[in-house]
Amino acid sequence: LTFAGRRAGNAAAPCLVSEFEWNADMTELIMQAVYSGLLQGGSYALIALGLALVFGAMKVINLAHGELVLLSAYVAYTVESQLGWNPMMAIPVSVVVVSLASASVYFLVGQIKTNREINSLTLTYGVGVILTNLILLIWKADVRATNSLWMQEAIVIGPLYSMRSELLFFGISVVLIAGLWWWLSRSWYGRAVRAVSSNRDAAKLMGINPGYTELISFIVAGILAAFAGVALFSYGVITPSYGGVLTVKAFIITVLAGMGSIPGVLIGALLLGVVEALTVTLASSALQELAGMGLFLLVLFVMPNGLFGATRRRG
């Protein structure tokens, strides 16, 4: 399995299917796909958790969330191509830029006067259009990927291959998710976010400022998106139009998970990563996205409340 092919598969770029070692054992191929999918799922989880967090706190789906992730990826590209630094060094810059962008989305959504549920969708869609075109203006339409050899170096664990960046960012994702879990369950602000999610008015009565809590949830979502963006740039390819795809993926994961559970989102993200990787290995990389959609439709038809969710979503 060549890395050129793998990278193309990861980012759903047009058909650059790798030449498989067809003589290799089928189980080995499948194991490799599952492994790659799990690693990819780490970043997906970060993206989906950000979307879910904001939805929980503010009942607003941020349709520009994927674009925020992509913005971070392009910041990493700039840091690498202009300064010649490792993309890892871009994380602080990305965190600042994307958190600010995410906070601006919050302020814009706060400006909506009537019918916030519907209008926030159109508004964040508009923000997504703005971000996509800003990226297009600043960084042009070319496909970008990292040149860092350190990031692309192969790490072999037993029969399984990965790039260093994949393993590294999977580790970072796990740490971040654990941190998020700790924050939501132990810290005051995290618990405030959960309180506002479950009952806004009761939280208000308990002395929680909902506006402030919502802003924090947007910023935390921005931080998660920043890490995910640098991860995507480090092991995949990015184009300005990729943001919308990321939003849809994050949404699919939250549908798989059912809203409101971190373990659910994590499992949903890993599941999506594995299904996509298996599709690339067993069918073609062009069908990668269709696999996620198929999973999404299946869950929608069979278990409309998601695999783990108890929240009622049906009309």
């Binding site: 047009p14 939805f55 009942k59 607003v60 789906i61 349709l63 814009l108 400006q111 909506i112 009537t114 019918n115 549920e117 519907i118 209008n119 969708l121 159109t122 508004l123 869609y125 508009g126 923000v127 997504g128 259009v129 703005i130 971000l131 996509t132 075109n133 800003l134 297009l136 203006l137 042009k140 339409a141 919308g244 795809v245 939003t247 849809v248 949404f251 699919i252 549908v255 062009a286 069908l287 996205e289 269709l290 959609m293 999404f296 439709l297 929608l300 038809f301 409309p304 979503r313 049906r314 009309g315």
Partner: protein, 322 residues
């Protein structure tokens, strides 16, 4: 009352005369301008179908590109592979979009934001299908030489002016259908659903059925417009036919013109598209949709009911001061 109605009728007749006769006579020779006007009416048709779903069905769709693309491909394939007359094929393009809408019906059990995202996911599915189903759609290479509009009763509709007259008629017919639906008892029930879905359900309105019907009507309109566009530009590829542009510009247009009205989306589309193409595109050749995004955000913040709503609000403030 009667007199004002007569006056209204006169304005309508005057406007119709202007758009059917004056526009082709004055601008007919400028083929660049005419092509922009035709394109803006295509956007207007999509915007109208989008606004119908939003206004009557209470649903925000980010997936209208799916209907547009499916309509375009259905019509192109039927007219080329099965030699169907173009006008009939266009009608079937709408039917194809209805089929696409029927596959989306399970999404109706989802509410608000979930519905909007699910339909966005659907649009992706249809785009991938169009790219991968190579034997039928020609894959990412696309379909070229799609037949033009025919000669009917000695008049060649494949000219710029002919195309203009056809798309204008399509959009106007859809506007009339929209108005008829709005006035019907079902339309009343749909508008009541805006205020309280539960209350309408209590008085015996089948909400899901009505919403499903609106989705189907909206899909049909969008599909026919997509089919027209395929025969107008004679070329199709998945990236074009299912482009997010077919969602973005109509949404901006509908919100700009006021999506609660019938003429708003159409006029909004013509204004927004012409300004975008004639002015903004010259200043910002790539990424000029940035302005559309800014306009959309500004409209939602300032006046989600459209520019007319903004004017009204301004007038009211003035009255209050006086």
């Amino acid at each position: 009352m009667k007199r004002s109605k007569m006056k209204l009728n006169k304005t309508i007749i005057g406007a119709l005369l202007a758009v059917y006769i004056a526009v082709p006579l004055i601008f007919g020779d400028d083929s660049y301008l005419m092509s922009l006007v035709v394109a803006s009416l295509v956007i207007g048709g999509v915007a109208l179908s989008w606004a119908l779903l939003g206004n009557l069905g209470g649903m925000v769709s980010f997936g209208h590109a799916a209907f547009f693309g499916v309509g375009a491909y259905t019509s192109a394939v039927l007219s080329m592979e099965y030699n169907l007359p173009v006008l009939l094929a266009m009608l079937f393009g709408g039917v194809g979009a209805i089929v696409a809408a029927i596959t989306m019906l399970p999404v109706l059990r989802l509410r608000g934001p979930y519905f909007a995202l699910a339909i966005l996911a659907y649009a992706h599915i249809f785009k991938i299908l169009a790219t991968e189903w190579r034997s039928m759609t020609g894959g990412s290479g696309g379909i070229a030489n799609i037949p033009t509009l025919p000669v009917v009763m000695g008049y060649d509709f494949s000219t710029k002016t002919g195309n203009y007259l056809v798309i204008l008629s399509i959009v106007l017919i859809f506007a009339v259908i929209y108005e008829l639906i709005r006035r019907s008892p079902q339309g009343l029930a749909l508008r009541a659903m805006h205020d309280s879905e539960d209350a309408t359900r209590v008085v015996g309105v089948n909400n899901t059925l009505l919403k499903g019907l609106m989705l189907i009507v909206s899909a049909f309109m969008c599909g026919v417009v997509g089919a027209f566009n395929a025969h107008y530009i004679n070329f199709l590829e998945p990236d074009y036919a299912f482009s997010a542009l077919w969602v973005t510009i109509p949404i901006v247009a509908a919100i700009f013109g006021g999506y609660r009205t019938i003429t708003g989306p159409i006029i909004g589309a013509v204004v927004v598209y012409l300004v975008d193409q004639l002015i903004v595109k010259n200043m910002l050749p790539s990424g000029h949709q940035l302005v559309l995004g800014v306009l959309l955000v500004a409209m939602i913040v300032a006046s989600p009911d459209g520019l007319l709503g903004l004017v009204r609000k301004f007038m009211r403030k003035k009255d209050a001061k006086a």
